[in-house]
Amino acid sequence: MEDHRKTYFWNAIGLAFLTIIEVWAIGVGLPRTGLIVLLLSITVTKIMLVALVYMHLRYETKTLRRLIALPIPLALFFLWGVMYDMAFDWTL
């Protein structure tokens, strides 16, 4: 394994900076939809930074990365299922 100290350090700085932007964004009175899109984009970026750099996913094989990415569409499918259920007020 190579020495990635600088990468780890700048990744932490990037994550902290993105957190500051998140906290700042909720206080500046952005339109609701814009705020949600911004916050979710920052969150996805932060998650990718942790997974790729700290969890070393960028150094893993494609097969492992695909295996790990598989639950994401499953979770989205579940989200769709919940939304569908809500139309019936949580009853069958």
Binding site: M1, D3, H4, R5, Y8, F9, N11, A12, L15, A16, T19, I20, E22, V23, I26, G27, L35, I36, L39, L40, I42, T43, K46, I47, V50, A51, V53, Y54, M55, E60, T61, T63, L64, L67, I68, L70, P71, L74, A75, F78, L79, V82, M83, D85, M86, D89, W90
Partner: protein, 210 residues
């Protein structure tokens, strides 16, 4: 004809079976978190009203907690980096810092819960402004509080598990059980700790900011 190729080398590179096992656990645990978060979102969408971000929950304090977990992820990965260079002192130092980060995170979360459960006049005013009755913010106060407690407590239990797990790893490190050619258990523990950080990033946004 024997053309068997080690599965690790073919599909998963140099990942050990232990590491693959931890990844599978993370996938399963991630789906559990996903169900909790999506369930909470479902309740939120169907609720008549939902408090504005920061009206009850302390965003600044939790942002500090987020920063703390980011720092602990950094120290965790630095612990791994230390053992790769056979730096035993660095390993112990960074592992201890990671555990300290987790303990402080839990302490702040416990303080936050106690503040809500004990209640106060100021909290009562905040709750009234958000449309709730009483001066305490309990799991039974509303759907909002239930979603908050279930999500953050489930995550908090993961942090507690992580702290215990890393304490065991630290005790092994103190006995110098890891070397530059034998650090698989440390890497696996690190994966779990980073996963806790990763989930918190999502919980922080969904519960505290949006």
């Amino acid at each position: 004809m024997d053309q068997a190729i080690p599965m690790n080398k073919t599909f998963f590179g140099t990942a050990t079976t232990g590491k693959l096992g931890m990844w599978l656990f993370i996938i399963m645990d991630g789906l559990t978190f996903g169900a909790i978060i999506i369930g909470g979102l479902g309740f939120r969408i169907s609720a008549a009203s939902w408090p504005v971000a920061g009206s009850i929950l302390d965003v600044q304090l939790t942002a500090f907690n987020t920063f703390l977990l980011i720092c602990s992820s950094f120290t965790m990965v630095m612990a791994l980096n230390s053992i790769v260079k056979d730096d035993q002192k660095g390993l112990v130092k960074y592992l201890a810092l990671t555990i300290a980060g987790g303990v402080i995170f839990l302490g702040i979360q416990a303080w936050e819960y106690s503040h809500f459960i004990i209640g106060s006049e100021h909290l009562g005013k905040q709750l009234a402004a958000a449309g709730f009755f009483g001066s305490q913010f309990l799991p039974t106060t509303s759907i909002y509080s239930s979603v908050f407690y279930v999500t953050t407590m489930f995550h908090g239990l993961h942090v507690l598990s992580g702290v215990i797990y890393l304490s065991v790893i630290l005790s092994m490190a103190l006995k110098q059980k890891f070397t530059s050619s034998n650090y698989d258990r440390l890497e696996i523990a690190g994966l779990f700790w980073h996963f806790i950080d990763l989930v918190w990033i999502l919980v922080f946004t969904i519960i505290y900011l949006i």
